[in-house]
Symmetry: C2
Subunit: 317 residues, 2 copies
Amino acid sequence: MTRRDSVVALSGGIGGVKLALGLQGACAPGRLTVVVNTGDDFEHLGLAISPDVDTTLYTLCGLANAQLGWGRDGETWSFMTELERLGGEAWFRLGDKDLAVHVERTRRLAAGEPLSEVVADFGRRFGLATRVLPMTDDRVRTTVETVEGTLSFQRYFVARRCEPCVTAIRYEGAERARPTPAALRALGEPDLAAVVICPSNPYLSIDPILAIPGWRSALQSSRVPVVAVSPLIGGEAVKGPTAKIMRELRLEVSPLTVARHYAGIIGGFVLDEVDAELAARLDVPVRVAPTLMRTLADKERLAREVLAFAGTLRGAR
Amino acid sequence: MTRRDSVVALSGGIGGVKLALGLQGACAPGRLTVVVNTGDDFEHLGLAISPDVDTTLYTLCGLANAQLGWGRDGETWSFMTELERLGGEAWFRLGDKDLAVHVERTRRLAAGEPLSEVVADFGRRFGLATRVLPMTDDRVRTTVETVEGTLSFQRYFVARRCEPCVTAIRYEGAERARPTPAALRALGEPDLAAVVICPSNPYLSIDPILAIPGWRSALQSSRVPVVAVSPLIGGEAVKGPTAKIMRELRLEVSPLTVARHYAGIIGGFVLDEVDAELAARLDVPVRVAPTLMRTLADKERLAREVLAFAGTLRGAR
């Protein structure tokens, strides 16, 4: 019998990647594939920027800026300071180290390389064993309809700090986009143990992935359990605008809403301990666990719990 | 009678801009226009880079890196270090501050702005009273034919450190290029006192300007004296490959060769003191002066000498 030890995780940026980092520690080296949202990719200053992919790369490589919560460790800001002096657009902060990734990615994409190959090569050069893959090599752009009008994702998220009230979210290009081939191959590997939906914002980070028809069908037909971890604890998101957006979209701010949102895809749901009493109201198997991840130990402990849960679901099939 | 106090200087990068800095000190604020070679402009990492224009801007603004002799003062190198780590092209060094100029220029050119307007705006933002203008808003590319084959200028100059033996130099696009309109207007101003050809490399820095038909004819029909300063002192260039290239092109390495090269354009030539005995062999008026510029005082002294010389030539008309 094949030893099942490979894992595919779906993730957005900062929130989800905490669990991805835990999974990286819980898996044998090279056995984790992280599929990352690219709906918040955008072109800025002529550069192709992939915020969630970069946050994932930096975090898994140990190169992330712990103070800021985004960008690179030991970053310098000479470029940004000068750009402001020249009257350039400064609302999206680009550090000097970070900029190397954007410039080199832009150059390679312009030369015809798919994003997934560029990202894979960056990972190798950073010494990363985990595979980080954009959800697609095609163009998908998350667009936020608000009471102030239509905003591109980064305008909404960074420039407007998620302040405008959201009325709808669209994933432009998702209908025609195809999953990254290497990611689909990872889903089909005989040693696959589980697919984990990280506790990212379901609407901004996971839905862009699920809006790609090939991803939705691949997950629906997955031979191994798909397990989602609740991004809400006691009716609030640990970080970011998940709860605010749910209220604006007139959704009940509850892990139940998230679990039901993933209906048809997930075979199990992980609830935080404070939400334990909700378990009875879900019609998928539930594991209750501490989901707040402050330390690396927290992340790895939750990751092992999630994988153990997936193991029981696999056994039950 | 109009007070003649405005000056137009033609210059390349490091060598010529020393005199441009002297002229800036010798002229009243805002009375100097520096027309800069753009034959060594190139596209690198997807960025539009104008080395001589930037060297001129940085030097005249007091923002140049005195240690390096190129680039920005107080520069940091985070971008370059990371780019090398990512396997990017590292032969052309781009500092973090410097990069802001390239990224913002590239963005504005892509948006349809002429280079001259972008550069003028950068100058204003840096607080510069002197007008710095690229020789043209059109594309001209200096190409060096060598015994090792054809090299783009920066490949020859930076990557190959001027080592390959030069057989010819071409200025691609120059025939169809037009002078920057604002620079032609500066040449036509009633208060113009002199046109100065700075002691730049005649073949790599000044000839790209003269290869533009509109520039050659404008200088030939100038109402004020065009005065060139020898880039050679005692048969050698102070810096750079001028003498080496002249030998390779089988030209006598002498200020006489340079003066004759500018025949039909210049109305006067400035020789260094060590070359004083050559004066008799030139058929244009000559001023002998110390042309080695180490300090700002040297530069301003030479500038005043050149302008005084032009004044005598104007009076003699």
